[in-house]
């Protein structure tokens, strides 16, 4: 297999990494905001958060991608493919991040919050010293899983024209008629990405683990 193939797959890998990073960052920000809505004492916010999560979690990512890529231009919103796809991924995975954050906060026993308040800590102090440090620690592994899901999910972008790793593998296959090699290479790269992120998440988790 010529070196041109490797550089082509390398270009694809770069797009995959960029998209993963962008979409994960977007999903984190939006997901945290959604989680705040879902645990807030304001009913309409809670309802809106729940509606968002239900809607986005129950639509297959590929359907969402096709909907956004071919639907948005119909209402006059024609953005570059990469931006459209990264945005869709962020919107989709934000629903999962939201649930991770929400359940992370819920892992902090209520008694601790009551005890903190009894000790005279203000609401902000209670969040800062009691809830958030513990909640963040229990989110490490689930967020790692979301990250892995997102990294693998970027391969669906190939179906809507983004030349990321899978898309480049398809182009290489067309050119050299050697699907086994290009897909074996691609598979190896995806496995490397997911194993590495799994390992990193495990490391962080062990570092910050709290014994209960």
């Amino acid at each position: 297999m010529p070196t041109a193939v490797l550089s082509q797959l390398g270009d694809g890998l770069l797009v995959t990494v960029e998209m993963t990073a962008l979409a994960f960052a977007g999903a984190l920000v939006l997901g945290v905001l959604l989680a705040i809505c879902r645990i807030s004492p304001v009913p309409p916010l809670r309802l809106a958060g729940a509606a968002y999560v239900t809607a986005f979690r129950n639509i297959p990512l590929l359907v969402l991608l096709v909907l956004f890529v071919f639907g948005m231009p119909e209402v006059g919103l024609l953005y570059p493919l990469f931006a459209t796809v990264a945005l869709t991924m962020a919107l989709y995975w934000a629903a999962f991040v939201c649930e991770v954050v929400r359940s992370g906060v819920r892992t902090v026993p209520r008694g601790q919050i009551e005890a903190a308040r009894a000790l005279g800590l203000t609401f902000t102090q209670c969040l800062r010293f009691v809830v958030i440090p513990q909640a963040l620690r229990s989110m490490v592994q689930p967020l790692g899983s979301v990250f892995i899901g997102l990294a693998l999910g970027t391969s669906l972008a190939a179906a809507v024209g983004v030349p990321e790793l899978t898309g480049q593998a398809q182009l290489v296959t067309l050119k050299y008629d050697n699907p086994l090699t290009s897909f074996a290479l691609t598979t190896a790269v995806y496995v490397a990405i997911t194993l590495t992120s799994g390992l990193i998440a495990g490391r962080i988790e062990r570092k910050v683990a709290i014994k209960r």
């Binding site: 493919l81 190939a158 182009l171 086994l180 074996a184 691609t186």
Partner: protein
């Protein structure tokens, strides 16, 4: 084993994406009804008539121990194909029947061997065609499968049975693109599984190639201005332009795409058999009648002269 699983996983994913992409698209209200799905009653009748009139091979043509004998004993022909190519093989969402030029030929070939048009359709794409033929999952591939010398090292090609070439589809209002070299610097889409991706790179090296899963998506991308042009086999593009006045086909085909029927390389008797069958249906007019009932519903004029069997490099 490892190589098998590393292939089947992406293949499965691709099949899924194709299927889902298609569903999502056909739900769009703007999508015109493809021919074949709601074609005129007369067209549908003549299509069925062509298959009903198709010849059946004499018993002496099917020697014992040949692949054809195995297919006859099994009672169905395993055909690798697609169900998303307008005019060639398109599934009717209501009846579930796949019709088109390729689908019709598959039925006729099955009838020639078995005596009835009994086929078992296996969904294929560009990454799986050769492997499915090599491992015996399918007996033949009939799916606008362009004969190339590189592919001919892995599979046998009967035919060519049809000759097409890449053409360019643009928005009706576009006057800037009239020939392949005009595509330089433009974004050009094509189907994921088409050899057109290579042709674009060859004729317009600085064009930006965008791959979409289906014909409908590519056409939509041009209409929406997401890409400047769409390059694919002329016959398929003319079908698009006939159904949708917002797009047009410019220029003449700039490549030669001889379609062949893929058969296992290990069964040379099957290649000879299919070649002889092609010559038979071409000389008795069945080929032209099938063309009229399928591709001819979107193209005006008489059926073209079929390419000479064995004329393509690799066939």
């Amino acid at each position: 084993m490892t190589t098998r699983s590393s292939l089947t996983l992406p293949a499965l994913l691709l099949t899924l994406t194709v299927a889902c992409g298609l569903t999502a698209c056909s739900s769009s209200s703007k999508m015109p009804a493809p021919p074949g799905s709601s074609g005129s009653a007369a067209g549908a009748d003549s299509y069925q008539q062509v298959i009903d009139d198709a010849p059946v091979a004499a018993a002496s043509d099917i020697p014992a121990g040949s692949l054809m004998a195995k297919i006859k004993a099994r009672g169905t022909l395993n055909v690798g194909g697609t169900d998303a190519a307008a005019l060639f093989a398109l599934k009717d969402p209501v009846s579930g029947k796949v019709t088109g030029f390729d689908a019709g030929l598959a039925d006729m070939l099955a009838k020639y061997i078995i005596g009835k048009p009994s086929t078992n359709r296996v969904q294929i794409d560009v990454t799986t065609r050769e492997v499915l033929l090599q491992n015996g999952t399918v007996d033949s591939v009939l799916a606008t499968y362009t004969i190339t010398p590189a592919r001919a090292q892995k599979v046998g090609f009967a035919g060519p049975y049809y000759s097409s070439g890449d053409a360019i589809l643009v928005k009706s209002s576009d006057t800037a693109i009239t020939k392949p070299s005009d595509l330089n610097g433009k974004s050009v889409c094509t189907e994921t599984s088409s050899t057109a991706a290579n042709d674009i790179k060859q004729f317009a090296p600085s064009a930006k190639v965008v791959l979409f899963q289906t014909n409908a998506e590519c056409q939509q991308a041009v209409e929406q201005g997401r890409t400047d042009a769409y390059v694919l086999d002329q016959a398929l593009l003319l079908g698009d332009a006939a159904r949708d006045k917002n797009v047009k086909v410019v220029g003449q085909p700039f490549t030669d795409e001889p379609y062949g029927i893929g058969v296992p390389l290990s069964s040379p008797e099957m290649k000879t058999f299919v070649d002889n069958w092609l010559k038979l249906i071409e000389s008795d007019g069945e080929w032209a009648r099938l063309w009229k009932a399928t591709i001819g519903t979107e193209l005006s004029g008489d059926a073209p002269t079929p390419p000479v069997v064995g004329s393509a490099a690799g066939s």
